[in-house]
Structures are given as structure tokens and as C-alpha cells.
């Protein structure tokens, strides 16, 4: 059997993650005052190319992948139940509620409800988010709030909202797509001005279009003051163009490195987008004709019309670009990498791209085609969880409560803890977003950090993220050790315990097999039991 590990080594997207306090910032302007910042700032490495579409070698189609990777002791480790798999992949973590819904209504119905979340009851979620006022503020309100120092820093509110939504929102697929496009059209909150603008970008650009059409999303992003500032298009003018945005627009946001453009196209596109800038007084988008290069040009074979509004020409080009097959393939490859496997099946990507092209770049049909493809079901247990995936899944399994805290000290502690794992929402400093393959995240130090963080959260060390193991422990009273272990494995890992789980828990808790632990013994051992299962090797995958 061929060793696919070998061939995978040359075909990866960017595999170099960074911590929040990115040493390795490719920042425009002064992204960081120091090369390494922050209290617990780990050294960060950033590098690697976005070569998502540059695959020369692909794994053979139809290559058999075991449904459930078996542990050496014979017990199935990651459950291959299709309902669980669907929920695990498309949400932030399996809960009993989701499983029950899928069981009752079927996978299709569950998926369709998730793809149109407008009818969902979000009152509990809204109550929490309502305590983070920055989320709803306009640019000028944010400016005022920040300068008067009221409330938690706006960036902190945005990041906390990420957690609240990941753990508590019923619209899970929507939130996952918001995260996907936040990475894809990355604007980091690495300075005050970008943080303010990113809150607006998150609300008006990403959240507005995450389950809509990609062409609408792209145009909105190109007009977004956050993006205009971050990638310097705001200061690009006919008197001196700046290529930064036009380059990333082609390389990262749409057609990809091998998508059929050259350096001349980068320059022409930059010319086309001159004058797309930020109004000095309102902080909102403004097209300044005086700064615009209205001359003839062509980009990748697209010719600028000789008549019509020069601003409209830019919008027209962006829609044309969004519908290019290379864009569909590039973005669908990334989607498949996010939700299915590090090396997506080319056949699946083709099916997704076809759905894109047939539906004016609408995202929901693309997701349906992905889930319907055989490669989706065959990928059980294949995705290594990124740090935030892993933490969110643990919190959902524990029924944790993420509080809309305004306490700066508590928020800073949470921030620093996440920074050691290398992933804080909205803090990847480069335009390409957090990487999405196992090789970027898995190493010995990373595991150690995850074990410790999940341990801290389960032990109640965070005031912001409240975990109550008491309720879980109470539910185990009266059970034998075996029953208790099975109940915990079912709740936390959605499967029966393996032999290895049983042995590990016996060691960690002191609950002797064949006996019934007393309530005190259960209480004494519950943290170790929960942590052992949530930090197990299998819990690193979904």
C-alpha cells in the first residue's frame, strides 16, 4: 500500500500557525510594537505558502480509509455513526441535544434547519451577547466607546463573543461558516484601529454573507474599511498604487496562486481598485474619484468597459472573479479541508465547485454537495482539531457556561491561556488565516499545552468559562465503576469506552473496577476522569 503520508508532505496549504501574539507578523504597518508581545507570549513561527491549488500529486480516488481507526486493543475509538459524524464535523462539538434531533428528524432535516437558521430561537444567546455592547455599535460609536474607555476593550468583546457563539449558539453551521470566512478573508485585531473596524467587518461583511453568496461576500469585503486598511488599498491611488490588496485578493481570496494571473494582472487590479478608500470623518467606505485610475486596463483577460461608472467596473470585476472556476475550486478545496480532510478528495472538490458555479456562488448548495459526497462519510476521525475546535468541543460536552464578562483581568487570563495554544479568535496576523492541516498544529509541546488548558477549564480555573462538574458527578451516583465510565465516555466522547479508556480512568480516578464508588469518591475523582477523557488521543480528532 502506498504511503500517502509521503505524498501529502508536498501538498499543503499554509502550515505555519501563529499565536495571538504573533512574533511572525506579516503585518502591514505597525502590527505589533515588538516582535513578541504579551505576557505568556510564546515564540511564534509563521511561514509557509498558500499552495492550496498547487497540487500536482493527489491521493488516488477511492482509496480505502477505515471508518473507525481501531486502537491496538481492538475497541473502536472514534464512532462511525453517520449522525454523530455529521454533527461533529459541522458544529463546534457534539451535544446530546443535537444527537437527539438528528435521531428524531434525520440528518437531512437537521442540515436544512442549520442552513436556514433564521427561524431558530436565539433568545438565550442574544441575552448574553446583549451584554457586549460593542458588537452592535457603528464605527463612530466604537470610536467613542474606545476613546472613553467604557466597557471591556472592543477587541476583547469580539473574541469573547466568538466563544459564546461557538458554545451556545443553536446556529452552529452558520457560526462555523463565519469562522471559515473570517480565516479566508482574514483581518486581524492587532491594533486599535483594526479592532474597531473588524467589529464592523465581522457584523456587516462576514456574518451578513456567511451562508449567502460568495460574490456578495467578496464585494462587501473589498469595500470593508477593515480590509481596506489592513491590506493598504485605502492608501492606494492613481498617484501611487499599492499592490498589497490586489495581490492577496487574487492569491488568497479568489483564484489562488496558480489561478491564472501574473504580476501585470496584480498591477492592473490595483489600478482598478484605486479610490476605494475610507472616509476620514465617518470611517466608512467611500469611493474617491480623484484617487481613481480610470484608464483602460485588463485583468486576467477581463477588459474594463469603455463606458459606465468606474466604481461599478470594480464591482463587476469582483463578481466576475468570484464566478471563475479557479475561485470555486480554490475556496471549495479550503472548505473541504476545513470540514472533511486535510487532503480533500478531488472528486468531492469538483462536485462542490460545480454546485458553486450552478448556484451563483451560493454557499448552502456547496455544503450540501460536500455532505452528500461519499468522501464525507469516509472521513470519520480524520480531522485533527485546531485548538479552538478542541476547546469548544470540550466546553459543549461539559455543558459549560461562557459568561459575557467585562472583567479585564479575567479576560486577559483567558486570552493568555488561548495564546499558549496558538489560536485566539481574530489574532492570526497574516492575510491567509489560521492554517487547517494536522501538521501545522500537532507537536509534543502543543499536546502538553492542550492537556493543561483543558485541565484548567475542567477544574474551574476560569471565571469567564464556568464548568460545573458537580452536576456531572451527581449523575453518576449509585453506578458501578463500569457504568460510570461508560456514562462519561458516552457523554464526553459519544461512544462506548475502549479498554484503554477503562484502564486510564481506573488509574486516574481510583474507582476500582467491579465496585461502586461512593459519592465522595466520585466527587474526588470526577475532575481527573473528565480531563482524562477530554484530553485523550482520540479527543484530539473529530
Amino acid at each position: 500500500m502506498e504511503d500517502t503520508a509521503d505524498r501529502s508532505l508536498g501538498i499543503e496549504e499554509d502550515v505555519t500557525p501563529s499565536s495571538s501574539n504573533a512574533v511572525a507578523t506579516l503585518g502591514r504597518r505597525r502590527l505589533l510594537r515588538h516582535s513578541w508581545v504579551g505576557a505568556a507570549a510564546p515564540l511564534v513561527t509563521l511561514g509557509g505558502a498558500a499552495i492550496a491549488t498547487g497540487c500536482e500529486e493527489r491521493p488516488p480516488e477511492g482509496k480505502p480509509v477505515p471508518k473507525s481507526p481501531e486502537g491496538a486493543l481492538g475497541a473502536s475509538t472514534v464512532s462511525d455513526d453517520p449522525g454523530r459524524h455529521l454533527v461533529a464535523r459541522l458544529t463546534y462539538g457534539v451535544t446530546a441535544t443535537d444527537l437527539a434531533t438528528v435521531e428524531r428528524d434525520g440528518r437531512s432535516a437537521w442540515l436544512e434547519a442549520q442552513l436556514d437558521p433564521s427561524g431558530m430561537d436565539t433568545s438565550d444567546l442574544d441575552a448574553k451577547l446583549g451584554q457586549l455592547p460593542a458588537l452592535a455599535m457603528s464605527t463612530s460609536e466604537l470610536q467613542t466607546a474606545h476613546s472613553t474607555g467604557s466597557g471591556a476593550p472592543v477587541a476583547a468583546q469580539l473574541k469573547l463573543a466568538w466563544f459564546i457563539r461557538a458554545v451556545h449558539s443553536p446556529a452552529q453551521i452558520f457560526e462555523r461558516m463565519v469562522e471559515f470566512f473570517s480565516d479566508h478573508l482574514n483581518v486581524p485585531t492587532v491594533n486599535r484601529r483594526l479592532s474597531l473596524l473588524k467589529i464592523v467587518d465581522d457584523r456587516e461583511v462576514v456574518r451578513r454573507h456567511a451562508l449567502g453568496r460568495f460574490d456578495d461576500l467578496l464585494v462587501a469585503s473589498a469595500r470593508s474599511p477593515a480590509m481596506l486598511l489592513y491590506l493598504d488599498n485605502a492608501t492606494s491611488s492613481v498617484r501611487g498604487i499599492n499592490e498589497n490588496y490586489s495581490r492577496e485578493l487574487l492569491e488568497l481570496h479568489t483564484v489562488g496562486r496558480d489561478g491564472g494571473y501574473d504580476e501585470a494582472d496584480v498591477v492592473s487590479l490595483a489600478r482598478l481598485l484605486t479610490g476605494w478608500t475610507i472616509d476620514r470623518s465617518t470611517g466608512e467606505f467611500r469611493f474617491v474619484a480623484r484617487d481613481h485610475d480610470a484608464g483602460a486596463l485588463s485583468v486576467m483577460g477581463w477588459q474594463r468597459p469603455s463606458a459606465g461608472d468606474p466604481f461599478d467596473h470594480g464591482v463587476e470585476f469582483l463578481r466576475w472573479l468570484a464566478m471563475q472556476p479557479a475561485t470555486a475550486t480554490h475556496v471549495c478545496t479550503k472548505l473541504a479541508r476545513r470540514f472533511v480532510a486535510d487532503e480533500p478528495s478531488p472528486d468531492m472538490v469538483d462536485a462542490m465547485a460545480a454546485a458553486w458555479s450552478a448556484n451563483d456562488s451560493s454557499i448552502a448548495p456547496v455544503i450540501r454537495s460536500m455532505v452528500d459526497h461519499g468522501a464525507f462519510e469516509r472521513s470519520v476521525g480524520a480531522k485533527f482539531q485546531r485548538p479552538l475546535d478542541h476547546v469548544a468541543a470540550a466546553l459543549r460536552a461539559l455543558d459549560a457556561d461562557v459568561r459575557p464578562s467585562n472583567d479585564l483581568g479575567q479576560l486577559a487570563e483567558l486570552h493568555d491561556a488561548l495564546a499558549t495554544l496558538g489560536q485566539v479568535p481574530f489574532e492570526w496576523p497574516a492575510p491567509n488565516g489560521y492554517p487547517d492541516v494536522e501538521g501545522a498544529w500537532l507537536n509534543a509541546g502543543a499536546l502538553l499545552n492542550r492537556w493543561n488548558l483543558v485541565g484548567d477549564l475542567a477544574a474551574g480555573a476560569s471565571e469567564v468559562i464556568r464548568v460545573d462538574l458537580g452536576a456531572i458527578a451527581a449523575g453518576l451516583r449509585g453506578m458501578t465503576s463500569d457504568e460510570a465510565v461508560a456514562a462519561l465516555a458516552q457523554r464526553l466522547l459519544n461512544r462506548a469506552p475502549s479498554e484503554m479508556d477503562r484502564r486510564a480512568l481506573a488509574t486516574a480516578t481510583g474507582w476500582r473496577p467491579g465496585s461502586s464508588p461512593t459519592p465522595d469518591q466520585i466527587d474526588d475523582g470526577i475532575t481527573a476522569a473528565v480531563v482524562t477523557l477530554l484530553t485523550s488521543a482520540d479527543a484530539q480528532y473529530r
Partner: protein, 409 residues
Amino acid sequence: MALRLNRRNLLKAGAVGGAAAALAGTLPSPAGAAGAAGAAGAPTLGRHNPPGRLVAVFLRGGQDHLSATVPYTDADYYDRRPRIAVPDGAVLDLDGRFGFHPAMTGLHSLYRDRRLSLAVATGNPAGDRSHFFAQDLVEHGDVRIPDDGLGWLGRHLGRTETDDASPFRGLTLGNHVTASLRGHPALGIAAIRSFGLGGASGATTGLGSTYRAGYGHDRPVDMFGRQALDAAEQIATLDAASDPDPLARGFADTAILLEADIGIEAVTVDMGGWDTHAQQGTHDRGEMADLLGTMDAALSDFQADLDRRGLVDVTTVVMTEFGRRVLENGAGGSDHGWGSAMLVMGGAATGGVHGEWRGLSDDATGERGDVPVTTDGRDVLGDLVVDVLGGDPSEVFPGHSWKRVGVTA
């Protein structure tokens, strides 16, 4: 007592199908190294004993070397950079052609003591202007992404792997292992003080044996889990740096780790912030001056620390993914270029300025408008592979024929 991780067995286990293949597509899995190097090459008997140890610093973002290593006698430099050029009266002279930016006093001292070598007009022949791609090319040591997908250090460590190798041969100071180490199961250590079981609550303190049993299979995740436990046990015995500035602490931890006898051969370190598209500032104020001052202090303090600890065998190399265009841009900054400069500090460094400088005329910079690459960066790294790592450049840089530059001996 050095910890042992039986690499040969792990490499073989990883290469077999089953669970490992199901979870394949990952790096740095032992399967990758086996597929690329271990299986093909003859197993090396006995431990690899390099002449020295290497610290490889990567300046992320494309450092504007024309502001760091200033060609101050070149009129074209001043013509093309009316706003951002470093005045010739401000530079710290090196060899009558180049001078350091005034913020680089520490490195200038080292140069005068013949402990710092420079190579000018270096880079990757491919000349790509994308950060991501250019960084990858430098880290893979190739002009395209190579089929084996290995980093240059990963390739070297894989070729010189032995059965009783230390788990610390290659490591990154940081949570995420750099691409240059790809192919080698390298450790990422963010800080000595926080490396180990326990966290803030101590919830994981007692779980060492549980983890050892639970991460007991042959998948990459299991191997890394056991490596984490081994490493934690050993690092728990070391002092930890406590400087509040993370940059200073990172280099201080590096020195502590190098002094401890744990088998380190190569450490990678990153420093970011170099993508100065706008408002670089003047020679005495602004972003570039700050960046260079920070870099200078970090590197020269690190060398002083190494000297105090008597670590004469440690050589540091500093590189970036590309330099920046000769012509300044409209925003008081500079855009992505091509040729850059590399520094080699301490240890085996010979001193002096190396490489061929063709000047900055229109002929020299050509259509690209960049400093042309006249010395392949892999030649500079090749000197280090031979003189510090005890390796073979022809194995480390596939398809490249190494020519000695002379930055080390």
C-alpha cells in the same frame, strides 16, 4: 543521562498503513521522514556528533536589508530612496562599502571583533514575491516546493538520525514547529517555565502515567504525546528564564537549553514585524529603527549570554524570505523585493562581508528593480551545514550544487 526515543522503530511503525495512513496527510509524521530519508539511506550507527550547534533566526515579513546593511557609498541608493535612505554620516561602517544602520551597535561590535559574517545579495533564485511562498522556499531549501515536503533542517536531521537520538535534536522556541524542521519530530517549546504537566490548576499534574498509557499506539498523535512527557520530565530539571519581555526571555531560554546537555543540534527562532510597506521612518525614528534596535539588542544580548555560559560551539544565522525593492514606494516604505542579506554570528563565523555586490544601477537591478541574488542563500546555509551541523549540503538541498561562501570555517 540523555533521554532516548527509539526513532528507528517509530519511523518504521509510522510508515506502515492502517491507522497511521488513515490519519495521514500530516507533518511532521515519522512516516514522512521514513519515506523520504530513513528508508532510503543507510542507517547511521552511533550518535551523530556535529561540530557545533545552530540557531537559525528567521525574520518574517521580508526585512529591508538596504536599511540594515547600507551600501552607503552608492549614489544610486540615495537616488532611489530620497526619503528612507540611511544617511551616510549615520552608518556604522563595516568594510568601506557597507555600514550598519545606526541602531545596530551590538552587532557592529561583534563585526569589529570578527565574530560576525555578512553575506550580501543573497536569496532564493526563484525570486517569488509572495511572503508565504518565499518563506516556504527558503525553509524547504529549494526553488520549488519539493516532493519530499521536508524542511532543510528536517532533511539534515533525518539523514543523520540514529537509534539512540535525543528527542531534542531539533526544536523551535515557540509553540509551532517551523517548516524548516518539517520531516523531523521536532519539539516546540514556548518557554521553559511553562513547559510541563500541571497548568494553572494542577489538574494534569498527576496524569503522567495515564497519558503514557493513553497515548500508547503508533499514530503520530501518540508519538508526540509520549515525546511531550519525556521532554517535560527532562525540562523540569532546568532553570527557566524570567524576563518579562518575551523576546529576551525566548533567547534566554534558548541559551539555557543549549547549555543543558540534552542533545540539541538545531534551534529555530522567529522574529516578525518586518513587512514595512509604509512609514518606515527615518534613520533615528520610526518603525525600521525600532525593529533594527530590537533585533540588535536581542541578538547581541544572546551572544553575550552564550559567551558567559562558555557555549563557543553555537553559531547563529539570520535570514529573511526576501529583501525589499530598491526604489522606495509612495508611502514612505518599500515593497517586496528579492536579494537580501544574511548574518552569521558567533561560533564558527569568520567575519567579513561576503558575496558579490553589483550595485544598484538600472543594469544591476534590471526589470525587477530589485537587488539581484548573486549568492544562493543555500550556499550560505551549506557552509553552516558542513561547519556546524556536520552534514552534507548535497543531501540537505536537493538538486543544488553547494559552493562555499566562507561565512564560517
